[in-house]
């Protein structure tokens, strides 16, 4: 039956979510209740007992980070297709195998391309 298993199967997950939320919330609330509160101006500094801050805190990231992130996102998400294929491997047979090899081959060429273009070199 569609839908009927939702409450029973996902009950543990729901309990864990509620429990985690309670623990997190409890810690924060307990902290607010217990800790002493003595505010003064020095406390608002970025580094309370260090040097006064110089310049903007928002530094520009190197573009390398973006490139790595992009590559990660692309290659990571492609793995989504490997799971259903692996589960249904017996049923799909030779067609599924050839298709998946083709898929991985295309990814491989993309990999060789970014490698040769030097996207993995940090310096």
């Amino acid at each position: 039956m569609p839908g009927t298993y939702i409450p029973s199967d996902y009950l543990p997950v729901a309990i864990i979510i509620i429990f985690a939320a309670l623990v997190g919330l409890g810690a924060v609330v307990a902290g607010i209740l217990v800790r002493p509160r003595r505010p003064y101006a020095q406390k608002l500094y970025a580094y309370e007992s260090g040097n006064p801050p110089v310049g903007e805190p928002r530094q520009k990231f190197s573009v390398k980070f973006y490139i790595i992130a992009m590559l990660f996102v692309v290659f990571d998400v492609e793995a989504v297709f490997l799971y259903p294929w692996a589960v249904a491997y017996d049923k799909l047979g030779i067609f599924g195998f050839v298709e998946m090899m083709l898929f991985i081959f295309i990814l491989l060429i993309g990999y060789v391309y970014v490698w040769k273009k030097g996207a993995f070199e940090w310096e």
């Binding site: 067609f95 050839v98 295309i106 060429i109 060789v112 391309y113 040769k116 273009k117």
Partner: protein, 483 residues
């Protein structure tokens, strides 16, 4: 439960042309890492396209309809004719861009690979008989085209064009997906034939949700084809992109959009013809009006051609609105003609670009006929054709579309189209007037190359041949679509 669909390795055979283009694209990517000469890469690209074209022609018969992958992928005359448009589009684009990309200092091998990937996406769209495949083809086409639009990385104009194209393109594909999901939810299938069956057996054609799904799908393709009011991106993107890509984009994605629109509306939503015609009629009128009228005010020729391309999309829509297979034939016929005249016109625009000179303004064409009579004569042919003046192909294309609209009972639509066509003649002929009746104000040098000459010769010849012997093309289109 659905029937267990069987897919075998044998189904891959219908994918041979697409696989060929993908392989060529991958080879070009790798080749670019080792080969410095871009001419070689371009030549391999053209050769690969020709191989794929041969595959489409000879492998299983051009007109012979066949389905594979449990009916998700169809190869028939309709899709094959569109594939012909895409192949020609690749080859002509490569021909006109070789020297141009070097001048723009953006001559990278990826350019040619992306042309292949983008065209593969278009081919998949033309062959898609399932909304899932359609979406994948669309995204393959769109993602590659976004990059191509921003290919001149060192030019802010190109970057901005890519940015705008990307955001509006992604927005429109979200609409397409929502439309697909609504249609799927109601009919329980994504197969176009299955949708048509479900619509009639479940009798949900009057359901507002069905209507909503249909509207969302039309809106999404309205974005891709640049129909008003979903055209806002087109002028900016066409102006900022590399000119060769503007030529590529104004033909390829537009043709692919029409291919899908034709198949989805005629196959899946055939029973709702009254409804979708009612949506498309105001869109077509607005598209023709906006394209023709705003183009009058443009001084940048790329921008002018962008609005012209919007107006032409409006004319092409008439064939779809007619709702008959003859109407569809006239639209496809128009698309093929548009390929030649539009790429030809952009080729001339590209020739005016050289080191340090943009050559995109109307003023640059002043007195061109004095210094470059041949190029001016060619531009004259393309402008006459775009305006729809006989004996050029543009006239034939418009004539058949208007005729089919009248045959289907849309006499007023044909009248409106003729009026806007007359208005649009003004800005096309203004270019001719600038070339022939004004005195040159500055020295204009043209950038020529052998491949460019070939492209110009082919496009100009085709525009004239199809203009004088329209039956050649029309018979081919008829055979492809009507079987």
């Amino acid at each position: 439960m659905e029937m267990e669909a069987t897919i075998s390795l044998l189904d891959m055979r219908l994918l041979v042309p697409e696989l060929t283009l993908i392989c060529v694209g991958l080879i070009l990517m790798l080749l670019d890492l080792v080969v410095r000469k871009k001419e070689l890469i371009a030549a391999v690209g053209i050769a690969g396209t020709l191989v794929a074209m041969y595959g489409t022609y000879k492998l299983y018969g051009f007109y012979n309809p066949q389905a594979a992958f449990a009916g998700m992928f169809v190869v028939d005359g309709y899709s094959n004719f569109f594939k012909l448009i895409f192949y020609l589009n690749i080859i002509l684009t490569i021909c006109i861009s070789l020297k141009y990309m070097a001048i723009e200092k953006a001559s990278f091998g990826e350019y040619y690979a992306l042309l292949m990937f983008s065209s593969t996406g278009m081919m998949i769209m033309a062959s898609a008989a399932d909304l899932i495949i359609l979406y994948l083809g669309l995204e393959l086409m769109a993602l590659s085209t976004y990059i191509l639009a921003g290919f001149m990385r060192n030019q802010p104009r190109s970057n901005e064009a890519a940015l705008k194209y990307f955001f509006l393109g992604a927005f429109s594909s979200a609409f397409l997906l929502y439309g697909i999901s609504l249609t799927y939810g109601l009919t329980g299938t994504t197969n176009l034939k299955g949708i048509a069956e479900a619509l009639s057996t479940l009798s949900i054609m009057d359901n507002p949700i069905t209507y909503l799904g249909l509207i969302f799908i039309i809106v999404a393709f309205g974005f891709k084809i640049a129909l008003v009011p979903f055209h806002m991106w087109a002028p900016d993107v066409y102006e900022g992109s590399p000119t060769s890509i503007t030529a590529f984009m104004s033909v390829g994605p537009k043709a692919a959009g029409f291919a899908v629109l034709g198949r989805v509306l005629f196959d899946a939503f055939a029973g709702m013809q009254v409804q979708w015609a009612a949506i498309l009629v105001p869109i077509a009128v607005l598209t023709m009006a906006t394209g023709s009228i705003i183009a009058l005010a443009q001084t940048n020729i790329k921008r002018m051609l962008a609005y012209s391309s919007i107006a032409h999309a409006g004319y092409m829509l008439l064939g779809i609105i007619a709702g008959t297979h003859d109407g569809l034939t006239s639209t496809v016929n128009y698309l093929m003609i548009y390929l030649f005249m539009n790429i030809g016109a952009f080729a001339i625009v590209i020739m005016l670009r050289r080191e340090g000179v943009q050559g995109e303004n109307l003023d640059d064409y002043m007195g061109l006929s004095k210094s470059h009579p041949l190029a001016s004569a060619l531009m004259l042919i393309f402008m006459f054709s775009l305006a729809g003046i006989p004996p050029t192909a543009g006239f034939v294309g418009k004539f058949y579309v208007f005729m089919e609209a009248i045959n289907a009972g849309y006499v007023y639509m044909a009248l409106i189209a003729v009026v806007f066509s007359a208005i649009s003649a003004f800005f096309y002929l203004r270019v001719v007037m600038y070339m022939y009746m004004k005195d040159p104000v500055k020295e204009v040098e043209l950038t020529t190359s052998p491949s460019m000459s070939i492209a110009l010769a082919v496009t100009a010849m085709m525009v004239l041949i199809f203009g004088i012997f329209p039956s050649i093309l029309l018979n081919l289109v008829r055979l492809s679509i009507l079987g």
